[in-house]
């Protein structure tokens, strides 16, 4: 009788451990790869000083390890060095509106690759500022006063990872885990000093 009780307890313990394994850390990851799918050769001839119509080929990678299915949005923003970027400490995104978004539903442990081929189509130079006025991203034109930078130096593409928070019913940029805030973003700097 004692044996049956002990055996039941042991079996139940093993079954519980099998059915409810300790939860691993929840996280998203995002990265940028260069033209050859590696973390190198991000610009033609490895020169971030871009000329007009120079094609830049990147691949964005997004990985979901949140332990559940996720609705993710990659927001692409164009900034210069003085516009505030995302803040990891406070978990706030850059205040700038995105020029482009990529959206997808990712299963747990799924990786998503996004081709991001772009080139500068038009620049205009003022007194000391160079304004990026036309871009092409994945063959789609983006026109307007997109962003300006002093002498065309230090533009940056910022890629922010947002996700749909089921609890709040809205997109969120940061999440809490282990009593700390987490957010995911990455950026790439470039110069555009060659004006028409």
């Amino acid at each position: 009788m004692v044996f049956v009780v002990v055996a039941t307890l042991v079996t139940s313990g093993i079954a519980y451990a099998f059915l409810y394994p300790p939860s691993s850390e929840r996280f998203f990851a995002m990265w940028i790869l260069g033209s050859e799918g590696l973390a190198e050769h991000y610009f033609p001839d490895d020169d971030p000083n871009l000329g007009m119509a120079e094609e830049v080929d990147w691949t964005l990678g997004v990985y979901n390890h949140m332990g559940s299915i996720q609705y993710v949005v990659v927001r692409v923003k164009l900034l210069n060095s003085t516009i505030a970027g995302p803040d990891d400490v406070s978990g706030t995104p850059s205040p700038v509106s995105p020029i482009l978004e990529f959206t997808r539903v990712l299963a747990d442990n799924e990786t998503w690759f996004i081709p991001f081929a772009w080139r500068i189509e038009s620049l205009s130079s003022g007194d000391s500022n160079t304004v990026l006025t036309a871009l092409s991203i994945n063959q789609v034109p983006f026109n307007g006063q997109l962003v300006s930078a002093v002498s065309g130096f230090n533009y940056r593409f910022v890629f922010e990872l947002w996700f749909y928070d089921v609890a709040s019913g809205d997109l969120a940029f940061s999440w809490r885990s282990d009593r700390s805030s987490h957010s995911v973003w990455t950026q790439m700097w470039f110069n555009a000093t060659v004006a028409d």
Binding site: T11, N80, I83, P95, V140, V147
Partner: protein
């Protein structure tokens, strides 16, 4: 000061350039896609994966993306057609969710039943192994106790 003016100017310029064209249809489809995802996440949380519904929802989101591209290129007609296709896909996802929910519940019940049934089976197997082991050990000891060996003594050499 100049920088502040520049930042605010850029902010307003970018917000206008990024929101060109009518986005109400696109926003409606996106909103319904998010609602579909909300319900789908409940299904997936109960242990199912529903890959066909996830694939359809991703198809709808891609169509919305393509529609925004077409709108940026100035092709409003193509954008509307793509958004209509996306809306239909989202509706298919939404209508498929109750069946997926039922399937998830069934799968969950089967898993629970298997676990509950497996406990007495494992206990029975453990008891069987235990008693068989005890019996085998006793038999082994008994055979060793009654073991007879013929040991040949060496003859003493005078």
């Amino acid at each position: 000061m100049l920088i502040l003016v520049l930042i605010s100017g850029i902010g307003s310029i970018m917000s206008t350039s990024a929101s060109e064209g009518p986005a109400s249809t696109s926003e409606e489809v996106t909103a319904s896609a998010r609602q579909a995802f909300r319900r789908l996440s409940v299904v997936c949380a109960s242990g199912s994966t529903a890959p066909e519904l996830v694939a359809k929802l991703n198809g709808a989101l891609e169509l919305v993306q393509e529609a925004s591209y077409e709108r940026l290129k100035g092709d409003e007609a193509s954008a509307l057609a793509l958004e209509e296709q996306a809306r239909m896909l989202v509706e298919e996802v939404t209508s498929g969710i109750p069946a997926a929910q039922r399937r998830a519940q069934d799968e969950s019940m089967i898993r629970t039943a298997i676990v509950i049934l497996s406990i007495p089976v494992v206990v029975a197997i453990s008891a069987l192994v235990f008693f068989a082991s005890v019996r085998a050990w006793r038999w082994y000891e008994k055979t060793r106790f009654f073991e007879m060996r013929i040991v040949e003594k060496k003859k003493e050499v005078d």
